[in-house]
Symmetry: C2
Subunit: 468 residues, 2 copies
Amino acid sequence: MTSSSSSSPSLSRSETLSLLALAAACVAILANAFQGDDKPLIVSLALSGLAFCASFALIRWLGPTFIKAGFKGVDLSKHHRREIPECMGAVCAAVYLFAIIVFIPFVFYKDVVAATSGGGNRDVVLQVEHVQQGRFLHRFPHSKLSSYLSAIVSLQTIASLGLADDLFDIRWRHKFFIPAFAAIPLLVVYRVDFGVTSIVVPLQLQPYLGQLVDLGALYYVYMAGVAIFSPNSINILAGINGIEVAQSVVIALLLALNDGLYLLTPYPHPATDSHLFSLSFLLPFLGVSLALLWHNWYPARVFVGDTYCYFAGMVFVVVSILGHFSKTLVLLLVPQIFNFVYSTPQLFGLVPCPRHRLPRFNARTGLLEPSVTPWTPDRQPRPPIAWALKLLGRLRLLRVTLDGEGRFVETSNFTILNLWLVWRGPLREDRLALEITAMQTVVGLFGLFVRHRLALLVFKEDNWSVPS
Amino acid sequence: MTSSSSSSPSLSRSETLSLLALAAACVAILANAFQGDDKPLIVSLALSGLAFCASFALIRWLGPTFIKAGFKGVDLSKHHRREIPECMGAVCAAVYLFAIIVFIPFVFYKDVVAATSGGGNRDVVLQVEHVQQGRFLHRFPHSKLSSYLSAIVSLQTIASLGLADDLFDIRWRHKFFIPAFAAIPLLVVYRVDFGVTSIVVPLQLQPYLGQLVDLGALYYVYMAGVAIFSPNSINILAGINGIEVAQSVVIALLLALNDGLYLLTPYPHPATDSHLFSLSFLLPFLGVSLALLWHNWYPARVFVGDTYCYFAGMVFVVVSILGHFSKTLVLLLVPQIFNFVYSTPQLFGLVPCPRHRLPRFNARTGLLEPSVTPWTPDRQPRPPIAWALKLLGRLRLLRVTLDGEGRFVETSNFTILNLWLVWRGPLREDRLALEITAMQTVVGLFGLFVRHRLALLVFKEDNWSVPS
């Protein structure tokens, strides 16, 4: 009945003071931003700081409420199995959406003023008849507002789906396609605002295909595919403390870095607006995610729930579709794509799939080991599967244990976490999360390098080089 | 352990056939609508039929799932107290939002075609340079899309709030103002698109105030007030089977009738678009609500939950703000306003407020009687309160029971449902719901009559009369 400091639902004095100081600084920055010129990035950063403070405090305070409402889980990879709050990603999603919605009047403040009275826009010399009419509506960037609102609709839809999944355990086949519906507003806005469905053909293929290939409707199918894949892929790279949030933070940071590359080009890049838009959605996401990571990192004091995974995946979809860089997102999801492809033998039932495939906790050593699918002498894989499993074992892509007569005893489960443990041996939970996160970072940085440097080998131009 | 037919989670054969027939008819209408001309109302009606079918089936099927997830309640006003699913309004909200989101491409189909290729719009003669550019973006009604999306954002926000309330029982003071935040996207769009903050002054006051009074920012405070009041007021006129849904259906029907008055004017009314927009949100709401009413009417097989009440209230706010008739909504909420004002003595603590104020079920007669606040000889109301209570009692606005020495024994609780029982005597639950619904209808019709007929006594013009 003793409550350790780590599970107390109140903030310590130093935490309270730090959060208050950070919040005060952010409020000061916000107040200042209104005095001076347009500094959307600074405003967005301050907002993200506030979102961090709010999430941090709410995650702590709402723990008992969530447990009382039935959102609780037991950490299987610990000696002391106690119940901790589950589904705390819902708090992050709520804070994030609240921040983004409350922010609408600020984002569009100058536009509203310009569109409705002209008073705030000193660059525009007003003609008398305009002043008389009082308004010149065509100046308001309605398409920007549509983009912003469509992003919010998509994110709210996916947050509701995640919450429904946490509440009701929706069946896999029912929930798999719902992110595509959540993406409908995005795709409509993309169609109307941008509508580019052509992809640039690599130089080497241009003699055969021409410079551009128009995918037409297929391009929308591709974007819906990204919208389905991204949330689901974050959701299946899960199972150890901190991994869901850490991978999301890395991807968000890399997307933000990619945005930064466009903002720092030597000449004003035509895509500057798209990337500012993207940053204004990514920075608050980083704010709420870091607050969650603080509580979810080993040893976890809260679980994130499916809500967070879906939500994080959809944030990436939203910024990459509306920012017109969905192919860059695919590059950053390479570990997730690998995890999904690697999982297919179990997802598609070629190999039996237990309910949980998270790494096995060895209570004696306190380390994680690969979890396994057991095979009995009566129930052996069919010959082609057996051959493939042995091949994977020889390629060190699977741990295969055979008995003296060459029959399968057990094979490690098909997830990247188990594979990493096959390669690196038993690891403590936080060590495994750290290594996977480092791998995600390295792969992502390489992806961005490919995108911006090596791409010049196969494409004629990029944001850093003007066409010759 | 016997499961009566009314609580079976599957549809009967005749229900299945009826729903399938209705759904097939709606799909046929939708398919036809794409062949022919623009018939937004027909399309919306067909969509609403589909929403009805989906809600009806899902409410039935998901009952056990909701009970398993902890969404269950006991009906206090029945002889047999068994647990039935709670919070089924969440299903309606989800179906509604799903329908509205999936519908976006259809609503804007012709606009997208016109804006992106011109191919679908036979009225427009394309100039060569436009065809070359491929797109003429300014043609797309971005402001319409913004309105549509802002409505969805507001509704999703309120649905999430309702669900959070059903899950966590949020404290009154925490949740009271949240609808105002949910309305932010609406108010921004209102500001940008319409921005009228003047109200017409009654003829009799015009010599003193002029023809129009510009309320400026106060008008936004007023609209935020409506956004707070409407969801909360539906939520406090609750407690007996069917009453939450029945009042919402009546208000939605009256709003739709009001829209119809604008569509049937002898000349094309300038507000036609606003009212078509309003209908396209009201009709699907009627679809999902009628499916819920079927299950929630006496004897209720499901409860609706706070989610439904908040959601219904916000649908009215959305259509009335974006349709620019928020004052008409206030007229239709007169019974809710009365209930709120009448409740204030208990809401503000002048009279003790028990946890539940729903009418008391008399198990002997099977009828509902007014529930009461008991007073002990030690704990009597203070003199001014006692005087006011006695006055209310004399005006037949309260049932007051005194003992032989003039001390208070009990007073009926301050809700319109209890007051109605004071007036009309003990009633069966469905009879009470029916009478309150009839009263809501009559008051609402009178409100519309005032709005469209008597208004001419104090205002110079209306939708039925051109200014002379």
